[in-house]
């Protein structure tokens, strides 16, 4: 409930009206879980953009995977991250007794949630894509029937770059691609395929 109110009154007006999001390929966005959304990551805004392009009625189902060491660093921040944003905390360097790092994500997918994953791992250099980690491939292998939807976000790193506190409004583009499924391949091949599909969505914005 709190999450819905926070998104209806704060995040959505900020993202959709003050900044503005231009969605390309809206029909390719799955409205029912379980599914995995994979996007490039440059800004805290990325999560907010991806969560705002889903209808408000679905917001409780949409859960971003986020680094536990950053988003759970103190108890107030942890409460906010878990109850208001609804993140699935991911330990970047898990210890043995904490179990499999992707356990929380697996549980959410079994629960039919829409899970947002940033395969680059962290926000990196503004408006540049880093190398992809193989986490999504592990998930896709475990759930071969779940679609992995690639989305390229453009301009969020300009509106709110890493390390800057001042938000300056610009229209942000979200380019949605065709869903991918895990087939008979290895994790590395799947990750490459995913990376290529997001790079392809990126090309539109850098043609001369």
């Amino acid at each position: 409930m709190l999450k819905k109110i926070f998104f209806a009154l704060f995040v959505r007006p900020l993202v959709l009206i003050i900044s503005g999001v231009h969605v390309v390929g809206k029909e390719k966005l799955p409205l029912e879980g379980p599914c995995i959304i994979a996007a490039n990551h440059n800004s805290h805004l990325d999560t907010m953009v991806l969560m705002s392009i889903f209808p408000l009625s679905k917001i409780n189902q949409v859960k971003p995977v986020a680094a536990a060491d950053y988003f759970m660093k103190n108890k107030y921040f942890a409460w906010f991250s878990q109850n208001i944003i609804g993140i699935i905390p991911l330990k970047r360097r898990p210890t043995k007794e904490e179990g499999h790092p992707l356990l929380g994500v697996t549980r959410a997918l079994k629960n039919g949630d829409i899970v947002i994953v940033f395969p680059e791992g962290s926000r990196g250099v503004p408006e540049e894509m880093g190398t992809f980690k193989t986490g999504i491939a592990h998930l896709a292998k475990e759930f071969p029937s779940i679609p992995v939807v690639p989305i390229y976000i453009h301009g969020a790193g300009k509106a709110l770059p890493k390390g800057e506190a001042l938000f300056v409004p610009f229209i942000i583009d979200a380019n949605i691609g065709e869903a991918l499924y895990y087939t008979d391949e290895n994790n590395k091949a799947f990750t490459t395929r995913l990376e290529k599909s997001i790079k392809k969505l990126e090309e539109v914005y850098y043609k001369v």
Binding site: H22, L166, V168, P169, F170, I171
Partner: protein, 302 residues
Amino acid sequence: MVSVEAGIVLGFILVALVVATILIYVKFPTQELKDRMNSWWVIIGFFTVGAMLHTTTAMFFFGFLSYLALKEYFTLIPSRQTDRRVMFYAYLSIIPQYYFAGIGWYGMFIIWIPVFLFLLLPFKQVLIGETKGFLENTSRVQWGLMMFVFGLSHLAYMITLKPVEGHSVGGTELVLYLVLLTELNDILQYLWGKSIGKRKIVPKVSPNKTVEGFVGAFVSISILAVLFSFLTPFTWLQALVAGMIISGGGFVGDVVISMVKRDIGVKDSGNMLPGHGGILDRVDSLIYTTPLFFHYVYYLYY
């Protein structure tokens, strides 16, 4: 409240909308025309509620319009990471500009952007300290402010104008007159061009614009300007000249914004208005007609 004169014209627009919608859905049901028609309903609905009913609401309405146009422009132009802060102040300058318009402080309204922002924004760049690309960014940002904030805000100032002695119509009616004729000019240029257009007028910038379209709209708008002059204190001759200013200015505004889009390499400035493109694609001609028409009226009557 809406005056009788404005009420008549808004009623006329409503009838025209209904007729055009039926015509499009029955005779030319292409998706593009339908989208464009539906967007017209939205634009006219917002304009009527936002600008026609109350002067204070109108300040917020036009201020927000400036903001949307400026944001589209800032998104399109190339910029460096350090320009974000300069652009932030450019956005903020919208608030005082519309405040000065709202309280009718003419002196401040007319110099806030061309003098104060023009002199001080470069200093903000000095404080940031990125020397490379200074001139490019200063020009781009100032140009955007002049077009989308200074230019458009004349609509807001115009709406605060009181009726001239001996006339019942004031600023609201002048704005309605100007916006109606500017938008009709766009539509008529398109329709005249579609039906008899042959010779391209600016082929490199806007290949769809024709001499026939321009002349057809110029003559039609001049006549319409006289017909609708009950919204203004104009004599018929003054109205005729107003029509010429609006038609000519609207054409120039349209092709200047096309020039910007050509330079950047996009077709539409955005997608807020399906069938039209972005806000810039719709307000392009208004940016030129508004200050030109405002200063014409201001010179004649205020």
